[in-house]
């Protein structure tokens, strides 16, 4: 450890922190406090009348069977998306690591989808699999497979998970590639000399050494699945059929911006905020203990 750097001027450190703090306050604390305030009010869409109702909005939200449904949908969706995106990215990274010629090209091509905006990724998948106009949907149907995500809940879920995971694979891939490069080749070679097969080498050396990367990605992917997938769901299913793909974030949007029930919507975003804070805290508290940082 190098000795701690101290500033001679008492004001300077605060000045240097100010821009970052200002951004956090304007884009996080201020809207979050607004949501908190709104969650305790009952207000018409135009804000002409508002009454303080205490925790009534929260009570109603938590007693709503549709909210419980959204929780279940979110859990299934997030686990599946995060697992699929990370597993496939790891597989691709390990494979790309083995290639010697044209490595750069493979990597570049695999990273590209990350540049696609979520809503556009959703549209791409929709164009391929929409039963009314999708090419693949047409092929599936003519092959005798009853493909209809407009009415079939599990199929719709599969579609949004695939789209959401596809979009995130590139990002995960990038980090896994970097992680793999940081693993000393000598360790792997030593194991090979000792007679460990490829599978064995991966699970006993590579995978544990990748743990910091995997953990970081787990946090990022969970938040991604919770929040950033809104665009995909909005474009592909709009939460339907029924409420089969209505995640918590989508329900916040739907209740607030389509149905104009601001109090309920704000209460839901406050709950969502608590869930994500708790989730991240748990991940850091328990999962991180099992991670070795080189």
């Amino acid at each position: 450890m190098s000795p701690r750097v101290t500033f001679p001027n008492k004001l300077l450190p605060y000045l240097l922190l100010a821009p970052q703090l200002a951004i956090t306050i304007v884009f996080f604390y201020w809207p979050a406090s607004q949501a908190l305030r709104q969650s305790l009010l009952r207000e018409d869409p135009f804000g002409l009348q508002s009454t303080f109702v205490g925790l009534a909005n929260f009570r109603r939200v938590l007693n709503d069977p549709n909210y419980i449904n959204a929780v279940q949908v979110t859990v299934i969706f997030s686990i599946a998306t995060a697992f699929l995106a990370m597993a496939l990215a790891l597989l691709l990274a390990v494979m790309a690591d083995k290639i010697i010629r044209g490595r750069g090209i493979y990597r570049t091509l695999l990273i590209w989808p990350y540049a696609v905006a979520p809503a556009i990724a959703g549209m791409l998948w929709l164009f391929m699999f929409n039963p009314a106009m999708g090419t693949f949907a047409y092929m599936l149907r003519s092959a005798g497979f009853g493909w209809d995500p407009l009415l079939n809940g599990p199929q719709a879920m599969t579609l949004v998970i695939a789209a959401a995971a596809w979009k995130q694979i590139s990002y995960n891939f990038l980090f896994f590639v970097a992680g793999l490069q940081a693993i000393p080749k000598t360790l792997i070679e030593a194991a090979a000399i000792d007679g460990a097969g490829e599978n064995k080498r991966f699970w006993t050396i590579v995978f544990p050494l990748l743990a910091p990367t995997t953990f970081f990605l787990l946090v990022i992917n969970t938040t991604y699945a919770f929040f950033d997938t809104f665009g995909i769901i909005h474009a592909v299913t709009g939460g339907g059929p029924g409420k089969a793909t209505e995640t918590l974030v989508y329900k916040v949007y739907n209740d607030g911006f389509v149905n104009l029930i601001l109090g309920d919507s704000a209460a839901q975003s406050v709950i969502l905020m608590i869930i994500v804070i708790a989730l991240t805290a748990i991940q850091f508290r328990y999962v991180e203990k099992k991670v070795h940082y080189g």
Partner: protein, 436 residues
């Protein structure tokens, strides 16, 4: 919000720069949701109005889909940045009406323009829908439409159906759909856009059955839904049965099913008359018919209710600005403009004179079927079941209905169960929305 503010700031700066030579011009903003050909109409109308006089200037701004435009307007109002005119779709009418302090009745504004406002020159069915229970017209009907039946003449011929006589009742539609499917003329017999608007709201009006208590919400905001009555359940059970083997295909909650008709997959199609433009453009050999009715219903067919959108004016603006709005609305009401709007877009004319003028011009003889939406709406004096549906949270109630329909079409529940659920969930949502 930040970007809105910034964009508005930039826009304001530009407009100050560009109009600095003519400071006397009163500028009014018109937020709308029209895309494609209909957007061109908005631009043309504004341009023509701006060129027709030099005191006022209308600036149209596209704000996204109907719900997005409404939300943008609400957000702007809350930030004291409301536009002068906003286009709100039919189901948003209840939302706007509930916000009495936020809007200025159009009847008041039109009389500010110097001319006495004469309600009788407007189509009664449309005006009634956009008026308060006491008769004050609140918004200006801009684009009104009515659901009609479209059919593919080539498919009809292949299936051995009468090409010149489209089915008139629902049983006839279902029979024809089965024939199309079984003869192999097309993969699917019948599809429809907007199940909620066509098969519930208009189904109620057209067959003269109640949709909800208190005159479907026109008399009071406290409404109890009646859409699980046997006539609805039987109707939807037939559709659910046809959906099992794709004789009926579901396209989506709004107008997605149009694609199924335009691609020739489905032979019969119910959709807004406003969708005619796309059907014409596709080059399909199409025919038009009246919206089908239920022959067992007494007095059917009654009349259909207007869909589409109207223009609302926000409160809290200066007199000068309201005079500008009045001048613009008077400009829009002119017979030749209304007649042109109607003939280009498939939307209904708003004034009786425009309808008469179109009739005299021989337009309907040259374009058979184009008069159908007007006749449907004007045919009979409306009853308390057929003046329209107005709920403070109709968008939410429609969502609930769509969710239940989707479960029904997927075979998870019967039509009766779907409608019972839609009624109990819808009633609870209405009670919550009106604050009980």
């Amino acid at each position: 919000m930040k970007t809105y503010g910034l964009a508005a700031g930039i826009a304001a700066t530009f407009s100050i720069l560009s109009t600095s030579s003519a400071l006397a011009v009163t500028e009014i903003n018109w937020w709308h949701a029209m895309t494609g050909a209909n957007n061109e109409v908005v631009e043309t109308l504004s341009k023509e109005f701006n060129e027709s006089q030099s005191d006022y200037k209308v600036v149209p701004v596209f704000k996204g889909t109907y719900p997005e435009t409404l939300n943008a307007g609400i957000a702007a109002f809350r930030a004291n940045q409301a536009p002068h005119i906003i286009q709100v779709f039919d189901v948003g009418t209840g939302v706007m009406m509930a916000a009495e302090g936020a809007v200025k009745p159009v009847a008041e504004i039109l009389s500010m323009g110097g001319k006495q406002f004469d309600k009788s020159q407007y189509l009664p069915g449309i005006v009634a829908y956009y008026s308060k229970p006491d008769g004050t017209m609140l918004s200006f009907p801009y684009n009104s439409s009515s659901p009609i039946l479209y059919y593919n003449k080539d498919i009809f011929e292949k299936a051995g159906l009468d090409v010149d006589n489209p089915p008139k009742t629902w049983p006839e539609v279902f029979e024809a759909a089965k024939k199309i499917k079984s003869s192999g003329a097309a993969q699917c017999g019948y599809t429809s856009t907007w199940l909620t608007w066509i098969h519930l709201e208009n189904f109620a009006a057209w067959n003269n059955v109640s949709y909800g208590t208190n005159e479907n919400g026109l008399a009071s905001t406290d409404v109890e839904l009646k859409i699980n009555a046997p006539i609805y359940a039987e109707h939807f059970q037939q559709i659910a049965d046809l959906a099992k083997d794709d004789t009926f295909r579901y396209g989506g909650r709004t107008s997605e099913a149009k694609q199924l008709f335009l691609s020739g997959e489905c032979g019969i199609f119910t959709e807004s008359s406003g969708g005619l433009g796309d059907v014409i453009k596709s080059g399909l050999n199409y025919g038009l018919g009246q919206l089908p009715y239920e022959p067992s219903a007494e007095g059917a067919p009654q009349n259909t209710t207007p869909g589409g959108a109207s223009l609302w004016v926000f409160g809290g603006k200066s007199d000068e600005e309201y005079q500008a709005v009045a001048a613009f609305f008077n400009f829009l009401s002119q017979t030749d403009i209304q007649a042109r709007l109607h003939q280009v877009s498939g939307y209904l004319p708003v004034t009786l004179e425009a309808y008469e003028a179109t009739k005299e011009s021989g337009f309907y003889e040259k374009n058979p079927g184009r008069e159908i939406p007007i006749q449907q709406m004007m045919g009979k004096e409306p009853t308390e079941n057929s003046r329209g549906v107005r709920l403070v949270n109709l968008p939410q109630v429609r969502d609930i209905q769509n969710e239940e329909f989707e479960k029904m079409l997927a075979g998870q529940q019967t039509a009766q169960q779907a409608l019972d659920n839609a009624v109990s969930r819808g009633n609870a949502a209405i009670q919550q929305a009106i604050g009980n």
